[in-house]
Symmetry: C2
Subunit: 310 residues, 2 copies
């Protein structure tokens, strides 16, 4: 028997979890419990505050549906998804483009486009050309690299947020780089948008006087055989929220400008954004590295290397 | 603009939360985010593990109903509820009985019993008498102190877990101490039991090779005007799980023996458990201090002193 107090109870928990057979699960739970207890001791959490936290987490869980993942949104707004992505990125050897959040609006099997075609079907925005090269860590172009792109329209809506979401894809597509690794397509300048503010995460964001906006950006998922997939996004430099992204996806290397005149553009009559992507060579047992508010991830089987509770 | 990496992203989050108007909410969130990020960096959490965590928390939230609070169960099994209760206890000035978890089986308005009556109506267990004094911090008996008691039967079931739960209360009751602060009632020796193992928390407990049992115990909620309410439980010393309570409620000062012969008992023909309770004087703005797996707490309004997200 033992005398428990606020400093010893954590050791009792760790001792009871010592029987965990999976060493990685044990390591993760030990660290989680130590930090959880240290947090509560640090702020001297009261029973009333504990109860408010239980209420909050319960509401976050209950807000989740197959089409909305409020726990991922919470992770995003606390910078936790960004952190996990950055750590995954840092473990990838070789020069490669920085990752950014996948976000909740990725769709598989987006329409194929030829180089130079427009991915914008039903939008009134300012037309631009987006172009650059996909190369390996040594700067050698990767012929035929797959470039998946998706973005909002000039009002800040993805196609999934429009009434006809189920039947028509817009402002998204899959292209293939040419023999030199060059890609280019036409689109419109996207607008920034607010995260969903009608759930408990929105409640938290309002209580923190945060604006809840993501700056204007274009998503990319770039892959090629033998290379590690890059999930990233490019952020338009003059967006008013470029320095205060609610989900912490923006980093310097991913900020781009719209050039009004660019003689080296493949479509020089249009304003342009130029960005070159670099992919690292893939290693054994790579995870996808995808982190972001994608509800469909929840039903995907995690990689075999991940510890499982079951 | 900024370059985010695994060490700087937490500062970006804290900076964005700096606009929080409620200073206590700001303090709690800052500490929560710092520990959350430190946890992930410490274990180098992978995207696959992050995804497994999102799945787990989502399932915990979705398992909650008005009659089952899986997030409180998670808090209990990680020793977090015990920690919050112990800290609240430590803040209470004056000598008082140690607190223990309220648990999910408390019911308001349990039947009144006279001193010496049995709270066991439909059970085959070994009859005992439970008795002692309720006194203040100076050891002075508190006349008429209210003693609410509830416990399992000899099979480890509360009345709420029986088929006729809605219509009949059993093994629970409310007594009032006499003019000297003495209380006594008859009951049976309760049996220990397993926490609910059919949800995600049960999944975690199994993955940790933990047994999931609580040792045999009797719950008490003791109050008197002008005194701070005590929520606690007494644990029977010879239970096989006395040193490994799954929810960390057991502490030395709350462990009791069944005495086969006790001449000072008010009912000396029965085996007895003797325990004296002490209540501290209540202060201004006291919270109830109740922490435990009580689903009904979720719908109670938190005390006004608690920071609220709304």
């Amino acid at each position: 028997m033992q005398t428990l107090n606020e400093n010893t109870v954590v050791e009792a928990v760790v001792a009871q979890m010592a029987s965990t057979p999976n060493p990685r699960f044990k390591e993760i739970m030990n660290a989680a419990v130590r930090h959880l207890h240290a947090f509560a001791r640090e702020v001297n959490l009261t029973p009333e505050e504990w109860l408010e936290g239980i209420r909050f987490f319960t509401e976050v869980g209950q807000k989740c549906t197959p089409y909305r993942q409020e726990f991922i949104l919470l992770s995003d707004t606390l910078g936790f998804s960004a952190l996990v992505g950055l750590m995954s990125d840092a473990r990838t050897p070789g020069v490669h483009t920085d990752a950014s959040l996948l976000g909740p609006f990725y769709r598989m099997n987006s329409p194929d486009y030829k180089l130079g075609e427009s991915i914008a079907k039903r939008t009134q925005g300012t037309e631009i050309v987006m172009y650059g090269r996909v190369s390996d860590s040594n700067g050698k172009g990767i012929p035929g690299a797959s470039v998946q792109v998706w973005q909002t329209d000039e009002k800040g809506d993805y196609d999934l947020q429009r009434p006809n979401a189920a039947t028509e894809m817009d402002l998204r597509g899959t292209l293939h780089a040419d023999a030199e690794g060059l890609y280019y397509f036409r689109t419109v300048i996207p607008a920034g948008y607010s995260i969903p503010m009608d759930g408990p995460v929105g409640e938290m964001i309002r209580a923190q006087n945060r604006h809840g906006f993501r700056p204007s950006h274009i998503h990319f998922l770039i892959g090629a055989p033998g290379h590690r997939e890059v999930v990233t996004a490019l952020y338009i430099y003059n967006d008013p929220h470029i320095d205060s992204d609610t989900v912490f996806g923006v980093t310097d290397s991913l900020v781009v400008k719209v050039n009004q005149s660019d003689p080296s553009s493949p479509l020089p009559h249009l304003p342009s954004i130029k960005y070159d992507f670099q992919l690292a060579v893939s290693g054994r047992g790579d995870g996808s590295g995808r982190v972001g508010a994608d509800p469909s991830q929840i039903t995907r089987k995690p990689a075999e290397s991940a510890p499982s509770l079951t």
